[in-house]
């Protein structure tokens, strides 16, 4: 299987209060395409930082971050923005829907950056909402939706542009168990049926069990990669 994401000797440091904090330390990691990965580790182990580097939200101090064959450290700010628009879908813990827009308009938002007509954007957004089971909620604003529905809208937004990679940062952190399972099953479906490469940060072993593989980070270094032989959960 072709590696979708390739990290070589990646180091990322932050300056805080005059001290340099090395969050990722010479990290090497290879992530296969069309695979659902969970990314686990204690707080401060560099999970979110890794997700940000892979998603082109931040750049490493050294090393190579190659995603879909593109070396992200070679891109400037506007090139990175365009790359994100075309290649990555993000799902955040707090859903991060724009409160003034309806569910459909939120899903349409990333499509504004694609060369599509208004009608095409609308149809594509409606398809994405249909896929997450929210056809009947597309004209509702976020405050009119439950947490689980909001996260499903966020997933629809992440897949609206049909990216190859979906990055999820604690997508079930704000949800109860049952709702979380629904969202995780949806991610699993996206991986299985649409062949999306998914990298999901989580603290929850049960959430991680939905993934095919679990990457363990510890103090900015790769611990181990587990093969979850029973990814369907339980």
């Amino acid at each position: 299987m072709q590696a979708a994401i390739n990290l070589r000797s990646v180091t990322k440091s932050y300056s805080r209060g005059g001290e340099t904090l090395r969050v990722l330390d010479e990290l090497d990691l290879e992530i296969d395409g069309s695979t659902f990965y969970a990314l686990m580790g204690p707080s401060g182990s560099g999970k979110t930082t890794l997700l940000n580097l892979v998603g082109g939200l931040d750049q490493s101090n050294s090393g190579i971050v190659q995603v879909g064959g593109e070396d992200l450290n070679e891109l400037n700010g506007s090139e990175l923005a365009q790359w994100r628009a075309e290649n990555v879908g993000f799902i955040f813990q707090g859903f991060n829907l724009l409160p003034v827009l309806t569910a459909r308009e939120n899903v349409e938002l990333p499509l504004l950056l694609a060369p599509l007509s208004k009608r095409q954007r609308r149809e594509q957004a409606e398809r994405a909402l249909d896929l997450v089971g929210l056809s009947d909620r597309m004209n509702h604003k976020p405050r009119e939706l439950s947490g689980g529905q909001e996260q499903r809208v966020a997933i629809a937004r992440a897949i609206a542009t049909d990216p190859k990679i979906i990055l999820a940062d604690e997508p079930t952190g704000d949800l109860d168990r049952d709702t979380a399972d629904t969202v995780l099953e949806l991610l699993q479906r996206l991986n299985r049926e649409l062949q999306k490469t998914i990298l999901m940060v989580t603290h929850d072993p049960q959430a991680a069990s939905y993934a095919a593989k679990t990457i363990h980070l510890d103090k900015g270094k790769l611990g181990r990669i587990d093969d979850n032989h029973a990814p369907a959960g339980n």
Partner: protein, 389 residues
């Protein structure tokens, strides 16, 4: 640019947006009024006739000149006609709280010296031939529903009748004006009637003339006449000050102080106040939107787009406010012009004033939106997302 998002951001906080729009509208309306007043003053001065000189006491406008000066001034080369102007200062008996200027003038030289006047009703000849006749401005006639032939009782305050009754004038003509320097809320009657009443003991009041208007003959330099008249009375009995009509009007306007500078100062203060109010709103909005902007950046929107959203929101709020102010201003233009006609005959919202109002709103909107957008543009996407709290 996601225009729908821009519009929804404006309408998403109806109370806050309405208050900001209202504040901008009030401020822009005020600035528009001040500008209309300032440009009205300029128009009044600009419209002053170059061939009319005004002669008043060198001591003060409130000191009368001897009547005998008229004959002497007629001997000055280049003086074509003289018309006396005597401030009457009476009160209309039917509206003692209201005010409009009344002047005693010479009918023979008055109309021919003011070609900006034209008679819209009645007859100037009737006015000239009727000792107690008067001519009133169209706006004044409209205000009190006066008609030609109607008697107008005016109670004297400077010139009072000895029997205690009001002066009674009969409207013989109504005039219109096509110049901002000559307003339509004045009343004129015969100086000779006033003079005779004083001489015959029917009335009491100051003896003399407030201002002489000299009409300068075509081809004569008004400055030469001006110097000659001033020189003629250099040694008394009472020195005079001769000015052009424009200078006379300017001095009249500045009797209360430097009005244009004062208005500009107030306008500037209002401008700063509204700038800080809008800036405060936009800084608050910018902070609230940091999360949304972080999300948009993560989705692939550039700094230019996210900055454009904040600047666009600010400009939109200000332009809606300015539009409301301009609309209200235009609706109130006519009533305001009538209300201020006596003091400010040139009051009007011209195109320059409206462009200035829109320009101010645009400027305030751009700067107020730019500062918060600068802050969010300097933040990385991860920093913006970390402000989630």
């Amino acid at each position: 640019m996601p225009w729908k998002l821009l519009w929804r951001n404006v309408t998403g906080h109806p109370v806050r947006s309405s208050l900001t729009i209202g504040a901008v509208a009030v401020a822009v309306f005020l600035i528009t009024i001040l500008q209309a007043v300032t440009s009205g003053l300029s128009r009044t001065l600009d419209a002053s006739a170059a061939n009319r000189l005004l002669v008043q006491s060198a001591v003060s406008l409130f000191v009368d000149l001897p009547l005998s000066y008229q004959q002497k001034m007629m001997s000055v080369e280049g003086v074509e006609a003289i018309c006396k102007w005597q401030w009457f200062g009476g009160r209309y008996e039917q509206d003692k709280g209201g005010f409009f200027p009344q002047f005693a003038i010479d009918p023979e030289t008055f109309m021919v010296s003011y070609p900006e006047m034209s008679v819209s009703a009645g007859s100037y000849e009737d006015f000239s031939s009727t000792r107690t006749g008067c001519i009133v401005g169209q706006q004044l006639a409209d205000k009190y529903d006066w008609e030609v032939g109607q008697s107008v009782p005016i109670g004297g305050t400077i010139f009072t009748r000895t029997d205690g009754t009001p002066w009674t004038f009969t409207i013989k003509a109504i005039y219109e004006s096509n110049s901002p320097s000559f307003d339509e809320q004045q009343m004129f009657f015969h100086y000779s009637y006033l003079r005779e009443s004083l001489e015959q003991g029917g009335a009491t009041g100051p003896d003399g003339v407030g201002v002489f208007m000299l009409r300068v003959a075509s081809g004569t330099d008004p400055l030469v006449v001006q110097s000659a008249v001033d020189e003629m009375f250099q040694n008394g009995p009472q020195r005079v000050q001769t000015t052009t009509e424009a200078e006379f009007n300017r001095q009249f306007i500045t009797m209360l102080g430097d009005v244009p500078s004062l208005l500009r100062l107030v306008g500037g203060a209002v401008l700063f106040a509204i700038f800080f109010a809008v800036l405060n709103t936009m800084l608050l909005t910018g902070r609230e939107r940091t999360r949304d902007i972080g999300v948009m950046k993560a989705l692939g929107f550039t700094n230019r787009t996210t900055a454009g959203l904040l600047i666009g929101e600010s400009v939109l709020l200000c332009m809606i406010g300015a539009g409301a102010a301009i609309g209200i201003g235009l609706a109130l233009e006519r009533p305001l012009a009538i209300a201020t006609a006596t003091l400010l005959p040139g009051f009007a919202f011209n195109r320059g004033t409206l462009i200035l109002a829109a320009g101010i709103a645009l400027g305030v909107g751009l700067v107020s939106g730019f500062l918060p957008s600068l802050r969010t543009s300097r933040m990385t996407t991860t920093q913006a997302l970390q402000e989630l709290g």
